[in-house]
C-alpha cells in the first residue's frame, strides 16, 4: 500500500479497566472505501472512535500504541485539530434537534471557518446536501426541523453535516443499521460517488457482510479486539484465510 491514510501500530485501548483493543496494527488506504467488519463486541466501534479521539470522552480511558493520520501522530496533536480532520456518521441518526436542516449542515462549515459570507455558506450547504444525495428532497424546506425527515433522510442529513466540514476522512459507524433498504442503497451510492469524485477516504464499520462486499475496496476483519485478517475485498470475499472471516461472511455471526 502506498502511503496509507491511517496507520496504527500496536494500538491498545482500555476502558474502565477492561481491554477492548488488544494490539491493533493495521493500515487504511487513502481514497478508498474500507469496511471494518466483525461480530458485536469485537472492538470495531472503539477502534473507529479512537481514530478521531472521540473515545477519550469516556471516563477511565487508557490508550497505548501509535496512530498516524497522513503521517502525523494524533496523540501529539491538539485533540480538536485531530477531530476536524474527520467527519463522523453515527449508528442512530442524530441531527441537532433544535436547528433547521440548513443550520445542521451549515454549522460544520461555520465552526471550521470555511465560509466567509452567506453566499459561500449557501454553496457549501448545497454541495454537502448534493453529495449526500439529499438536496432534491429538502431544497424547498431547508428551514424545517430535522424531525420532519424520515430516518433514512436524517442519516443522509448527518452525512451532509459531516461533509460540510470538508474532512479528509469519513468515519461511519454502522450507518445503515437502523434504516430501510432503499435509504441504505442511497447512502451507499453517496459514499461511492464521494470516493470516485472527491477522492474521499472512507472507513465504514458494518456488521452486514453483503454491504462490505458491495461497496468496499478493502476489508479489515476484527475479532475479540484484534485484527485477524485484512486485505483487498476481492481477495477476502473469495478467499478468506481465517475461519472467523469465513463464518462472518456466511452470516453465521
Amino acid at each position: 500500500m502506498s502511503d496509507p491514510a491511517i496507520d496504527t501500530r500496536n494500538l491498545r485501548v482500555r476502558i474502565g479497566g477492561k481491554e477492548i483493543l488488544k494490539g491493533v496494527t493495521v493500515r487504511i488506504p487513502e481514497g478508498k472505501i474500507t469496511a471494518i467488519m466483525g461480530p458485536s463486541g469485537s472492538g470495531k466501534t472503539t477502534f473507529l472512535k479512537t481514530l478521531n479521539r472521540l473515545i477519550e470522552l469516556n471516563e477511565g480511558v487508557e490508550i497505548s500504541g501509535e496512530v498516524r493520520v497522513f503521517g502525523r501522530n494524533i496523540f501529539d496533536m491538539n485533540v480538536y485539530d485531530v477531530r476536524r480532520m474527520f467527519g463522523m456518521v453515527f449508528q442512530i441518526p442524530n441531527p441537532f434537534p433544535h436547528m433547521s436542516i440548513y443550520d445542521n449542515v451549515a454549522i460544520g462549515a461555520k465552526i471550521n471557518g470555511l465560509a466567509r459570507n452567506k453566499k459561500e455558506l449557501d454553496e457549501i450547504v448545497r454541495w454537502a446536501l448534493e453529495k449526500a444525495m439529499l438536496w432534491d428532497e429538502v431544497k424547498d424546506r431547508l428551514r424545517d426541523p430535522p424531525w420532519k425527515l424520515s430516518g433514512g433522510q436524517q442519516q443522509r442529513l448527518c452525512l451532509a453535516r459531516a461533509l460540510a466540514l470538508k474532512p479528509r476522512i469519513l468515519l461511519l459507524d454502522e450507518p445503515t443499521a437502523n434504516i430501510d433498504p432503499v435509504n441504505t442503497l442511497k447512502l451507499e451510492e453517496a459514499l461511492r460517488s464521494l470516493k470516485n469524485e472527491e477522492g474521499m477516504t472512507i472507513a465504514i464499520v458494518t456488521h452486514m457482510p453483503h454491504q462490505a462486499v458491495r461497496i468496499s475496496d478493502y476489508i479489515i476483519m476484527f475479532y475479540e479486539g484484534r485484527v485477524v485478517e485484512e486485505g483487498p475485498t476481492s481477495d477476502i470475499a473469495l478467499n478468506p484465510r481465517e475461519e472467523v472471516t469465513r463464518r462472518f461472511l456466511r452470516g453465521e455471526m
Partner: protein, 282 residues
C-alpha cells in the same frame, strides 16, 4: 367475594381517603377566593392608577394611597437577583455535568440541596452580616443578594436536570465535528433550553414571594418610590407582612390590596412557567 368486615373496611377507607383528599385542597382554593374578595375591592376603591402609582399615605390620611414603592421594589430586586443568580447557578450546574467525578461537583450538589432547605430567614441574616453591617445601611442590593442566594439552588437543580437529559449522542456528534468544549456546552444548553428556562422561571416565582430574606436587608423604605440600588427599598411581601401587623386601618387595607396583587402575579407566573418555552423535539 371477601368477607363483609373486609368490605366494610375497604369502603370506609376509600370514603375517608376521598374526603380527606378533597379537604386537603380546599384551603388553597379558599385562599384564592378569600384574598381576592378582600383585596380586589381595595384596588378598585382606591382606583387602579392611584393604587399602583402612589405611595402609602400617612396613617391618619383620608385615603390609603398606593403600593408603588413595594411594587417597584419587588420588580427591581427580583430582576437583579435573577441577573446575579442565574449565571452563577447555571455555570455551576454545567460544571457538575461536565466534570461529574470531580469532588467539587459532588460538593456543589450537596451544598445546593442544603441551601434549598435552609430557612430563608437565615439567608437574610447572612446577607445582613455580609452587606448591611459593614455598610451600615439597608439597601436594594442587599435584598437582591439575599433573594439571589435563595434562587441559586433552584436554578442549579433544574439546569442540572435539563442538561443531563440531553441525549449523549448529540454531544458525541458535536465533539466529532471538532467543536471545542465551550462550543459543545453552548450547544447542549440550547438543546436543553426549555428546562433551563423553566428552572429560572420557578426560581423567579419563588424569589418574588419571599419575605424573610428581606426583613433585615431591604429596609422597607416607604416614603419614596425608588431611591437607587444602594438605598433602602420596599417589597410587596415585606409591605404586606409589616402593614397587616399594624393597628392602622389605612395600612391594613393596603396590605390586603397588595396581597391580591401578589396573588395575581404569582398565578400569572405559575401559568407562564407551565406553558414554557418552545419545545425542542428529538
Amino acid at each position: 367475594m371477601p368477607q363483609l368486615s373486609r368490605m366494610i373496611k375497604d369502603y370506609l377507607f376509600t370514603a375517608a381517603v376521598v374526603v380527606i383528599a378533597f379537604i386537603a385542597i380546599l384551603p388553597i382554593l379558599h385562599i384564592i377566593v378569600y384574598v381576592s374578595s378582600r383585596g380586589l375591592p381595595v384596588v378598585l376603591e382606591i382606583g387602579i392608577v392611584e393604587f399602583f402609582t402612589s405611595m402609602p399615605a400617612a396613617v391618619i390620611a383620608e385615603k390609603p394611597g398606593g403600593i408603588a414603592p413595594a411594587l417597584v421594589g419587588t420588580l427591581f430586586m427580583t430582576a437583579l437577583a435573577t441577573v446575579i443568580a442565574a449565571p452563577i447557578a447555571t455555570l455551576a450546574a454545567i460544571f457538575s455535568v461536565e466534570f461529574p467525578s470531580h469532588p467539587l461537583a459532588r460538593l456543589v450538589r450537596v451544598t445546593s440541596r442544603s441551601l434549598l432547605e435552609v430557612a430563608t430567614i437565615l439567608i437574610g441574616m447572612l446577607v445582613f452580616v455580609l452587606l448591611v453591617l459593614p455598610t451600615g445601611r439597608f439597601s436594594a442590593l442587599a435584598g437582591s443578594v439575599a433573594l439571589a442566594i435563595v434562587m441559586i439552588p433552584y436554578v442549579y437543580t433544574y439546569v442540572e436536570l435539563a442538561l443531563m437529559s440531553v441525549p449523549r449522542t448529540y454531544i458525541e456528534a458535536a465533539y466529532a465535528m471538532g467543536m471545542k468544549r465551550a462550543q459543545v456546552i453552548i450547544l447542549t444548553l440550547r438543546i436543553a433550553r426549555r428546562g433551563v428556562a423553566r428552572g429560572i422561571g420557578i426560581a423567579v416565582t419563588k424569589a418574588m414571594g419571599e419575605t424573610a430574606p428581606l426583613l433585615f436587608t431591604a429596609g422597607a423604605a416607604r416614603n419614596v418610590i425608588f431611591a437607587g440600588p444602594l438605598e433602602p427599598i420596599d417589597a410587596l411581601p415585606l409591605m404586606i407582612f409589616h402593614f397587616i401587623q399594624t393597628p392602622f386601618d389605612n395600612w391594613r387595607t393596603l396590605a390586603w390590596g397588595g396581597a391580591f396583587v401578589l396573588l395575581v402575579l404569582y398565578i400569572a407566573l405559575f401559568i407562564l412557567v407551565r406553558i414554557s418555552v418552545k419545545e425542542v423535539r428529538y
